[in-house]
């Protein structure tokens, strides 16, 4: 509920002044404007342009080394662009970012509760005050039964659920996910895809999801952005009707297939070194 309210605030109160030249993109939560990132001599991203709109599930799809993870890190503020600009239209969203890494990256010495409590603890929230929020987050990901379990006692899928709960406990307006399910088996991945959509429906957060899986991107997204190899930029952008019901039938539907086909074609072009 809170999240949805934040989003409507975000739309109503853009931080850019009225009459700005960028009026077409003012409804974006955040915009990448010719953002480049290089590490020494290596270029991870060349002049990337894209927007993230409130409430959408945007997937960045691309071959290894296309800069999709770098883009996500820049979005999270974990790295700074070497050129271009990241323009935030919603300061609140910038402050409330949840990040789910490729690995679950849990504290191995801390149990599930303590791992999910961590962001609140770092924010100075007392354990007693945090407990209801931690329980709520654990409930959301289906780990309510295991607050005392240690990470090593959890399966890969449960670890990832714990990591997602940790991101959710701060009630993020923007949830960034960097190939979170890449290391999981297909069955678990599908299950977590379903769960993520359920969570999304309940929380209404904006999600930016990085993956190299065409199927995953087509199933989860309302918009798929396919990036070219070597940080070359956007090859294709595919909108998926947000009204479509994402269930088992969707995986077999012609809409799903056509998104997959178009994304695959774009991915092929991306890998062959096509420039937008």
């Amino acid at each position: 509920m809170t999240l949805q309210r934040q989003h409507s605030e975000a739309i109503q109160e853009p931080s850019t002044p009225p009459g700005s030249l960028r009026s077409a993109r003012d409804d974006a939560l955040v915009s990448f404007e010719k953002v480049g990132k290089s590490f020494g001599a290596a270029t991870a991203l060349r002049a990337l342009d894209f927007d993230v709109y409130p409430g959408e599930t945007l997937t960045l799809l691309g071959p290894s080394g296309c800069g999709k993870s770098t883009a996500l890190r820049l979005l999270a503020g974990l790295a700074q662009p070497t050129s271009g600009e990241i323009r935030w239209n919603c300061a609140a969203a910038r402050e409330k970012i949840g990040f789910v890494f490729q690995e679950a990256t849990l504290l191995p010495w801390a149990d599930v509760f303590a791992n999910v409590y961590l962001p609140l603890r770092l924010a100075g929230v007392a354990r007693r005050d945090a407990a209801p929020r931690v329980s709520e987050a654990l409930e959301l990901v289906g780990l309510a039964q295991f607050p005392r379990a240690l990470p090593r006692e959890l399966s890969g899928g449960m670890k990832m659920r714990c990591a997602i709960a940790r991101a959710l406990v701060m009630r993020p307006a923007l949830l960034l996910m960097d190939e979170p399910f890449a290391a999981l088996d297909e069955v678990t991945r599908w299950k977590l895809n379903d769960e993520l959509l359920t969570l999304k429906a309940r929380l209404g957060a904006t999600i930016v999801f990085v993956t190299h899986s065409v199927l995953e991107s087509a199933f989860l997204s309302t918009r798929v952005v396919v990036l070219a190899a070597k940080g070359g930029g956007i090859v294709d952008e595919i909108a998926v009707d947000p009204k479509l019901k994402r269930d088992a039938d969707f995986r077999l539907s012609s809409e799903f297939m056509s998104v997959c086909r178009r994304a695959s074609q774009a991915l092929q072009r991306a890998m062959s070194g096509a420039r937008p």
Binding site: G77, F101, E103, W109, L150
Partner: protein, 263 residues
């Protein structure tokens, strides 16, 4: 019940082997009638331990106390310096050569110099400290440096203060390495104390166990040498055992090193 039985089964072979070794030793000494000043039988060593317990045990207490003091000091200083060094690459580069130099210079060669400046008791403490210091420093530094980068990112994301980053992430992450260093340092502290006692050669009421060995050597009191040596090795084993237990208790819940594979 099952745990006790498992422990018994695990402990039986080494205990039996040790008993067999002692029996063989005893047998050979008796069979060939070897003189006690050449090689005392285990029974004679044990008898000496009992007879001269007042002298030997008070010396053992002196040595053990110094070794433990040095270990405590080394733990404090080593961990603190590792922490300081982890904050700045510049400091690390500046200080590491000295730490290495201290470590590679044989302590037995430093001891005579220390005896020039310090009283024997102080010199022994400093020697033991110097050898115990390095493994704690280097292991703790390694532990602090090998924190999962994704976790560091996570703490960045939530804008954790350096202090919170230390207590919630880096210190617990460094704990296994630190404890491994502590186990090594425990044995080394005893070695350092003994080396310094040998160099100091101080006699009298407060003399350590190493001095008792030297003293007994001069008198060709070989059983007493063996008795003192036995005590020393028991002390070493006790320190190692205690620190291993500490490691196990601290890490058994989460760290692979403290867990059995079937568990």
């Amino acid at each position: 019940m099952i745990a006790a039985r498992r422990l018994l089964i695990a402990a039986a072979p080494p205990t039996l082997a040790f008993a067999a070794l002692l029996a063989l030793w005893e047998g050979i000494v008796r069979f060939y009638g070897i003189a006690p000043y050449v090689l005392p039988a285990p029974s004679a060593i044990f008898a000496t331990l009992v007879e001269e317990r007042a002298l030997l045990f008070s010396s053992a207490a002196t040595t053990l106390l110094v070794a433990l003091e040095a270990l405590a000091l080394a733990t404090l200083c080593g961990a603190a310096l590792a922490l300081v060094m982890s904050q700045s690459k510049w400091l690390e580069r500046t200080l590491t050569p000295y730490a290495v130099m201290l470590q590679v210079t044989p302590i037995i060669a430093i001891a005579p110099l220390l005896l020039v400046y310090l009283s024997p008791a102080q010199a022994v403490l400093v020697c033991a400290f110097l050898v115990a210091f390095f493994p704690i420093l280097s292991n703790t530094a390694l532990g602090l440096a090998s924190v999962d980068h994704a976790l560091l990112d996570l703490f960045d994301l939530y804008r954790a203060s350096p202090w919170k980053r230390l207590i919630y992430l880096r210190a617990p992450a460094a704990l296994p390495q630190f404890l491994a260093g502590l186990r090594i340092a425990g044995g080394l502290a005893l070695i350092g104390a003994v080396a310094a006692e040998l160099a100091a050669g101080s006699a009298g009421q407060g003399a350590g166990l190493a001095f008792r060995i030297v003293e007994a050597g001069f008198r060709l009191d070989v059983p007493r040498m063996f008795a003192a040596l036995t005590l020393l090795s028991f002390m070493g084993v006790a320190i190692y055992g205690a620190l291993s237990l500490l490691t196990h208790v601290a890490l058994r819940r989460w760290h692979e090193s403290a867990r059995t594979r079937s568990g």
